[in-house]
Amino acid sequence: MRESHIMKIHYGTALAAVGLVAVHILMRMADGYAESLEFANVVANYQFLPYAGLLEIMLILLSVHGFNGLRVILLELRQGPSYEKAVSYGCVAAMIGLIAYGTRTIVMVNVGMI
């Protein structure tokens, strides 16, 4: 993939994440900020599919943006073909891992495993 395509995704995910995180914070405030992290509340949020969808999209956007940012930092720290390959594939793998782990939590709540 060309670096300009990667960076367009990087900037796009940042802009979209800012918008969605703002919606997320507003929803938390409307709900009563203090109780928002109580177990029952969190489970209820995951079971409300539109909100669970918003959280899933945020997870994807922030993981893509964050791990590409980490890749850029690591590429600037050191150079070399095998190091750069390891950094690029490592960041993609970690990104997929984090998205899979977060998605698993939402799925587990919705199939009644939690």
Binding site: R2, E3, K8, L75, E76, L77, Q79
Partner: protein
């Protein structure tokens, strides 16, 4: 203003500084101080210079910590009785104040720093309007002194970064209405150590002695790559 200053010259062999008392006048430049020390006190000081008028780009160095041309920096404007001169950062040192320019020139050549006319057989004059000239003329003033590369924080850690000098020159040719090599140049700088590794610190533009403003050139170039410019 005092009539002498203390000149501290970084020496590559000892790794320390040698100190010289040098007579100065209102118009004395840092290069003249170094040459005075070299001629009358220590002939082994290594320094590169040629034109003495900010045209050849040879005498770049760190003067009191800031990248600058020694021939274009007057002692009187430094407002200090002690002047410390060191080789430019981000360049391999040959000896004392003289550094190697290989990386700068390699990157400069990489971006194809010449006009690529569409039809090589077309012998007609390529006319340009004043507005078309305005788009790039400031960037054509680059003297390849390397001060921008020396000030760039990305150059310090990324040994394969193309650098502000080459990126500003890429913009200079991309923005020229007579040139048709835009796509080739954009694809050369569109790699993992190309234009996207600029974080807009802006220090390149701060130190440029010719007012080239490489940071602006890089942002304008990004406009092409993000599709904001044609």
């Amino acid at each position: 203003m005092r009539d002498t200053i203390t000149l501290r010259v970084k020496r590559s062999e000892s790794g320390g500084f040698d100190t010289f008392e040098v007579p100065v006048q209102k118009w004395t430049t840092v290069l003249e101080c170094i040459l005075y020390a070299k001629h009358y006190m220590d002939t082994s000081i290594a320094v590169r210079y040629s034109c003495r008028q900010a045209t050849c780009g040879s005498c770049g160095m760190r003067i009191n910590g800031r990248p600058a041309l020694a021939c274009f920096t007057k002692v009187s404007e430094l407002d200090s009785d002690t002047i410390t001169v060191e080789p430019m950062s981000n360049f391999p040192i040959i000896r004392d104040l003289a550094v190697r320019f290989d990386r700068l020139f390699e990157n400069h050549h990489r971006i194809r720093p010449y006009l690529e006319p569409g039809d090589a057989d077309d012998k007609r004059e390529h006319l340009q309007s004043p507005a078309e000239l305005d788009r790039y003329i400031q960037f054509a003033n680059c003297i390849k002194c390397g001060l921008c590369n020396s000030a760039c924080p990305t150059m310090a850690t990324d040994t394969t970064f193309v650098g502000p000098q080459a990126l500003a020159q890429a913009y200079r040719y991309v923005a020229d209405s007579r040139d048709t090599g835009k796509d080739k140049r954009l694809s050369i700088i569109d790699d993992s150590h190309g234009i996207w590794r600029c974080h807009f610190a802006g220090s390149c533009s701060q130190v440029c002695p010719k007012g080239v403003d490489p940071a602006m050139g890089i942002q304008l170039l990004r406009g092409y790559m993000l599709g904001f410019r044609g």
